[in-house]
């Protein structure tokens, strides 16, 4: 399996960032960066990362099932994550979540038919003082209202 030159460079750096014999430390970053490029942690990604690090695919599977940001199935091109934890909840995060579910007619971790947008109800993402917050892929949006959320979703549709 081949990756983009940027990702190859990142992998190369990761594999030399840890003490000798400890390249397994690169596993979780490699899976996350590969997912960003490939769209999910596919069987091929697992095999390839396992080979490069020198562990078995089973060991990779064991680790990846622990981390909530690693997905075995592709999420949408734009993954909309709505926090409903305490600080966001106190500011209407749960209403935002209901709003996005209704608006897109999707449930948690479901993807629109065209594969463009997926939604996920997430735990605290570290934006408590600027709640309620959402993340679209890695981009934070703070003080989100249902109206603002609609604007963000409309913007994503236009970007396609």
């Amino acid at each position: 399996m081949t990756f983009s030159p940027e990702l190859e460079a990142r992998f190369e750096k990761l594999l030399t960032s840890y003490p000798p014999g400890r390249q397994r430390s690169a596993l979780i970053p490699m899976l996350l960066y590969a997912q960003d490029e490939v769209g999910s942690v596919s069987d091929e990604v697992i095999d390839e990362v396992a080979r490069r690090i020198g562990v078995t695919p089973l060991q990779v599977n064991e680790v990846l099932s622990y981390y909530t940001m690693l997905h075995r199935k592709p999420m949408g091109k734009y993954h909309v994550q709505v926090c409903t934890n305490i600080s966001c909840l106190l500011n209407g995060g749960d209403k935002l979540w209901e709003h996005v579910c209704k608006r897109l007619d999707l449930g948690n971790k479901e993807v629109t038919e065209d594969g463009q947008i997926s939604i996920e109800e997430v735990e605290c993402m570290g934006a408590c003082s600027w709640a309620p917050a959402i993340q679209v892929n890695y981009d934070f949006h703070h003080f989100v209202t249902p109206e603002k959320l609609d604007e963000i979703l409309d913007g994503l549709r236009k970007k396609q």
Binding site: S17, S25, Y66, Y67, N85, L89, L90, N91, C128, S129
Partner: protein, 437 residues
């Protein structure tokens, strides 16, 4: 960038460069006394550095509040093994968003703090573990690390001091548990984030089975100021047993939520009413979670006379924690708050210890049912019983973190639990407080 206006009531030590254009760049850092503390430390003996940190009364800012200088002194300098500096930037405690602004606005301050820790314990490599959601911060930190290498503040023979140090940013991938120090080390080694049995503590057997200093982002960020201005000056900002300032993340029902740097011992009511601009919508304070969701809630009455420091909070059977102050107004449903937090803990329990894995799941089921109006009278005591049976029975503090606030919610707001027993959905649910302004 800053996401909220600073407050005039802040004591700006760690945030002193915030707001300066290009504050995150090495040029601005160097022009504002940056890396001078490192140069000073490089001329000192390691034990003198540790002594200065001890004098500062700096205590760990991640939540546990362990004295930092003492932690550093536990690292066996004479060990033939390499030593490591690990930075906990996993920041997952609900209510906490301070490490984010520290890394974003002044990454070199963190790097300098790490370098000084390296000098103190004879470490020559460090890892900054940042939660996966903070991808932009990993990029920002990698940029800063690149600048530091380019200008000779990282790498071999830093500024002719003969001291070598390499620093790496390392991403997590979604796990609250990895903010716990031993789980973080497992994750750093490419494994599931389950806690290690201690002792041995990370100071002796940490990253890669080697002696390791592991502190929170904010703790390292305080170190340059301590070396630069002296431990005594830092200590004097706070209280006798708790020196310096604390990054405080105000969230919930206040008019001016935001991250503020306040001296240890700042009065709680002044923080809510003056820094936070009071309770939103002219409503009243019902309760405050003082240091992130794991800290038992305080009633409005308990907030009176309280100060933001370790002892004042301990005296009220709660904790200063990570500085995540969550304000709840008089229309908040406390059953819902307890339920939502338990959903979080049951989601994040790593499953290693049975009391935590089963306890959080059981409590979540009861609290969800209870909040929806399907509770029974015996549930109220059952919730408290289950939580008390989790306390102290797990390898890491996640079990306690789930149990302690739950016990407090039930004990302090029992009448709200009683109110939910009429078989109808939450009697507080139609209150307007959950709709954003």
């Amino acid at each position: 960038m800053l996401y909220n206006e600073p407050s005039p009531l802040e004591t700006r030590v760690l945030t002193r460069r915030f707001g300066i254009p290009n504050a995150a760049s090495i040029d601005v850092y160097l022009a504002t006394e940056g890396y001078q503390a490192f140069l000073k430390a490089a001329r000192m003996k390691p034990e003198e550095i540790i002594e200065e940190v001890k004098i500062s009364n700096l205590r760990g800012r991640g939540g546990a509040g362990f004295p930092t200088g003492m932690k550093w002194s536990f690292v066996p300098r004479s060990s033939p093994k390499p030593k490591y500096i690990v930075v906990n930037g996993d920041e997952g405690e609900p209510g906490t968003c301070k490490d984010r602004v520290l890394i974003e606005n002044d990454p070199h301050q963190l790097i300098e703090g790490v370098l000084i820790a390296g000098l103190a314990v004879d470490a020559h490599a460090g890892y900054v573990y940042i939660r996966g959601e903070y991808r932009y911060l990993i990029e920002a930190l990698e940029k800063a690390i690149g600048e530091a290498y380019a200008k000779g503040w990282l790498g071999k023979n830093i500024q002719g001091t003969g001291f070598d140090f390499d620093l790496y940013a390392h991403t997590g991938a979604g796990s609250y548990e990895c903010g716990e120090e031993s789980a973080l080390l497992e994750s750093l080694e490419g494994k599931r984030g389950v806690p290690r049995i201690r002792p041995p503590f990370p100071a002796v057997v940490g990253a890669f089975q080697c002696p390791t200093v592991l502190n929170n982002v904010e703790t390292y960020c305080a170190v340059p100021a301590i070396l630069r201005d002296g431990g005594a000056a830092f200590a004097a900002l706070g209280l006798p047993k708790a020196g310096g300032t604390k990054m405080t993340c105000l969230s919930g029902h206040v008019n001016k939520p935001g991250v503020y740097e306040l001296p240890l011992g700042f009065p709680v009511m002044k923080m809510i009413n003056e820094v936070g601009g009071g309770i939103r919508g002219g409503r009243k304070l019902k309760a405050m979670i003082p240091g992130g969701s794991s800290c038992p809630v305080l009633t409005a009455a308990e907030c009176e006379g309280a100060t933001m420091d370790y002892d004042s909070m301990a005296g009220r059977k709660t904790m200063l924690g990570s500085g995540g102050v969550i304000i709840l107004d008089d229309q908040t449903c406390m059953v819902k708050a307890a339920m939502r937090l338990m959903r979080f803990y049951s989601h994040e329990s790593c499953g290693w210890c049975i009391p935590c894995r089963e306890g959080t799941t059981w409590l979540r089921k009861i609290l969800v049912r209870f909040h929806e109006g399907g509770g029974t009278r015996t549930d109220i005591d059952l919730i408290g019983d289950i939580a008390k049976n989790m306390l102290g029975r797990t390898f890491c503090p996640l079990g306690d973190a789930a149990a302690m606030p739950t016990i407090a919610f039930v004990e302090k707001f029992r009448e709200e639990f009683e109110d939910h027993l009429n078989g109808k959905p939450c009697p507080y649910e139609n209150a307007t407080h959950l709709v954003t302004a």
